[in-house]
């Protein structure tokens, strides 16, 4: 789960990480009222889960109320790389003497949190890492020992931080680490971490990714999910507890298990088709889940054919067949389906499907055969349309 900038900053504030004060707003009126309260100059910042907001005109300084209103009006509703701006964050303007970079990443390869610090902040850090790797200091932290003072010193000295800021920057990293652990983040990134003319350090931006699996014990964070930021189909799938990712093509895909679904996408693509989505019905998929899944897939109007690719383990093929029969009763689909059932209770599943004699439902015994068939059906549907 990715947090919007202002949600990240509110999370930071809970851990005593200094951030500029501000208020979120989702209408022009709210934005102006917030700006009045914060005072001028202030900054109007688009809240979307994508980088490059500044270049796109999504971050603007307002020197007075008229400008605040003008900026809020132009930014709210703006499209930034396919993301619509539903909220802005009105923030006090900060004075900047220097821009640093700090982050903590859940490093899967090293199996330890990786803390990074650079004096070259405010720019794309990937570029710094590539062109001048020495400028990006890195240190892994033992997860059971935790962040120690010396980690902060080593990073700060290695990054060439000014002598008077070694301690405050180290302390900031310690707090970021504490937040990373306490909130169970996968990523905490501050770019830029600014130094003010008074030599204070502050997080001027906040990028936080939380672990979805941990949200059950973080009620505050779980409540933050912003459905408006999600695609309509994805939101629907999310509400129904399905793992769904919308793609660009016209072949609806359902499978059980993320690996098998990814593989199915690949096999369909190799057969010349274009998948419309990724949908993992999960382990032990029951009939209800299948009905929901069919509804989600077909809510995407681009879909011209659907492929069910099931290899039963915990998932029982007869349950999937029952779900599909029920879905046809409820949803009455008009597009062709290709169904491949293999694994646990596959014979029973195929028997149920055959008996139900659903309209325009085709069966296949292998994954490759199923992919070829669905690509052909989608192409025919496209030609007919």
């Amino acid at each position: 789960m990715d947090l919007l900038e202002y949600q990240g900053k509110q999370l930071f504030a809970r851990h005593a990480i200094p951030v500029p004060s501000g208020q979120p707003a989702s209408t022009v009126e709210q934005a102006v009222a917030a700006a009045d309260q914060i005072g001028y100059p202030c900054v109007v910042k688009a809240q979307v889960l994508i980088g490059g907001r500044g270049k796109a005109g999504g971050i603007r300084v307002a020197k007075d109320r008229a400008e605040a209103e003008q900026h809020a009006r132009s930014i709210l509703g703006m499209d930034i790389k396919g993301f619509t701006v539903h909220e802005v964050w009105i923030e006090e303007a900060s004075q900047i003497a220097a821009e640093y970079y700090a982050s903590i990443v859940f490093d899967r390869a090293a199996k330890a949190p990786l803390v990074m610090l650079s004096k070259e902040g405010g720019v794309e850090i990937e570029q710094v890492a590539e062109e001048n790797p020495e400028a990006l200091a890195r240190l892994h932290v033992d997860p059971l020992l935790g962040f120690q003072d010396f980690h902060g010193r080593r990073l700060a000295f290695a990054a060439g931080i000014d002598a008077d800021l070694i301690r405050p920057v180290g302390a900031m990293l310690a707090k970021l680490y504490a937040a990373f652990v306490a909130e169970e983040a996968m990523l905490v990134e501050v770019n830029p971490l600014i130094v003010t003319p008074e030599r204070d350090v502050r997080a001027l931006d906040a990028k936080v990714t939380l672990d979805d699996n941990s949200l059950y014990r973080h009620a505050d964070n779980a409540a933050l999910r912003d459905p408006s930021a999600e695609d309509a189909q994805e939101q629907m799938a999310h509400e129904r507890g399905l793992t769904y990712v919308k793609l660009e093509g016209d072949i609806g895909i359902l499978g059980n298990g993320a690996g098998l679904v990814m593989s199915t996408l690949d096999v369909v693509a190799l057969a010349g088709g274009a998948p419309a989505n990724f949908l993992d019905a999960g382990g032990g998929s029951k009939a209800d889940a299948i009905v929901s899944a069919v509804e989600v897939i077909l809510s995407d109007e681009k879909v011209k054919a659907v492929l069910f690719n099931i290899f039963g383990g915990i998932t029982r093929c007869d349950e999937v067949a029952k779900g599909l029969i029920e879905a046809f009763d409820v949803v009455k689909p008009t597009v062709p389906f290709v169904v491949r059932l293999d694994g646990t209770n596959d014979v029973e599943g195929r028997r149920l499907l055959a008996e139900a004699n659903l309209p325009n439902v085709h069966t296949a015994t292998t994954m490759n055969e199923a992919a070829e068939k669905v690509v052909e059906l989608a192409a025919n549907a496209g030609a007919a349309a």
Binding site: S214, A258, G259, D342, G343, M367
Partner: protein, 292 residues
């Protein structure tokens, strides 16, 4: 022979009194696995169709000589259950549970790796099947038969798919090991490939990876330096768009590293043949074994 689970396995199942726990514990026993105990706190003294239930893993080890634990409890209790198994002296812990918080996994991994006497497989994995000997987990064992192909996979259903493709071509498996697709798997491709390399029954190794992380790239380096047996690989996720999560936390693509293409190239650069589909992968394995 086989790796990790076999005729010596004495299995304790945590969460055995839950619906799924009971179902799979009995399934594993039916396959021939010695399921010697279950653990559910507060239900000590009961039994599940003759399998004695204990309050703690320590009792299961003491009373029944359990040496392998299958973790089947819900995600919020799983880290604790794994740590309890380690403390009780279990030497192989197989964690089926899906959805364990990543920071829990990290703490557990870091603690367990300091104990050379314990191996963790999973979490979020389908378990381990050594056909004809023992099955621990949820792999649909009837699709596989005993043979000389070792399979190691990050994805559950993909494991079955590939194993089944091999079986349909008449090949069998020494062991099928699901390592899971979570951020911090207890055992890596490398760990399992090293076991297959040392296993006399295994003549060919199939590894099935997916986008995200760098486990496949690391395995490629390891194979080039340490593995004498042929290895065939499959990678899922060539058409996954960058930056999109595909269900597994493991399937987050960041930049170019971690893409299916990058993994394929890393493996092929080290002489590992990579199939484009599960079917092609099975065919590659068949060719190599047929030529021997």
């Amino acid at each position: 022979m086989s790796v990790l689970v076999g005729t010596d396995t004495r299995l304790v199942v945590t969460g055995i009194t839950g619906r799924e726990g009971t179902f799979h514990a009995l399934n594993n026993r039916r396959y021939g696995t010695q399921v010697v105990a279950g653990v559910t706190p507060g239900k000590g003294g009961q039994d599940v169709e003759g399998i004695p239930v204990f309050n703690t893993l320590a009792e299961a080890v003491e009373e029944q000589g359990a040496n392998t634990a299958m973790i089947f409890v819900p995600p919020r209790f799983a880290a604790d259950s794994i740590l309890e198994a380690e403390e009780a002296g279990i030497s192989l812990i197989i964690a089926i549970t899906e959805g364990i918080p990543a920071h829990d996994e990290l703490r557990v991994y870091t603690h367990l790796k300091r104990n050379p006497n314990v191996t963790l497989v999973g979490p979020n994995c389908p378990g381990i099947l050594s056909p004809g000997k023992a099955s621990v987990g949820i792999i649909p064992a009837s699709f596989f038969k005993q043979g000389n192909v070792g399979v190691v996979s990050r994805s559950g259903t993909l494991t079955y798919q590939i194993g089944n493709e091999l079986a349909q071509r008449g090949f069998g498996n020494s062991s099928i090991v699901g390592i899971g697709g979570d951020p911090v798997p207890g055992s890596s491709f490398i760990d399992i490939i090293a076991l297959f390399e040392a296993d006399p029954e295994t003549e060919l190794i199939v590894m099935s990876g997916e986008i995200g992380g760098s486990a496949e790239e690391e395995a490629a380096e390891y194979i080039a330096a340490n593995v004498t047996k042929p290895v065939v690989a499959y990678i899922a996720g060539f058409t996954a768009p960058p930056g999109k999560t595909m269900g597994h936390a493991g399937a987050i693509v960041s930049g170019t590293a971690g893409t299916a293409r990058a993994k394929q190239e890393a493996l092929e650069a080290k002489g590992v043949r990579v199939g484009r589909t599960p079917t092609e992968t099975a065919e590659l394995a068949m060719q190599i074994l047929g030529n021997r």
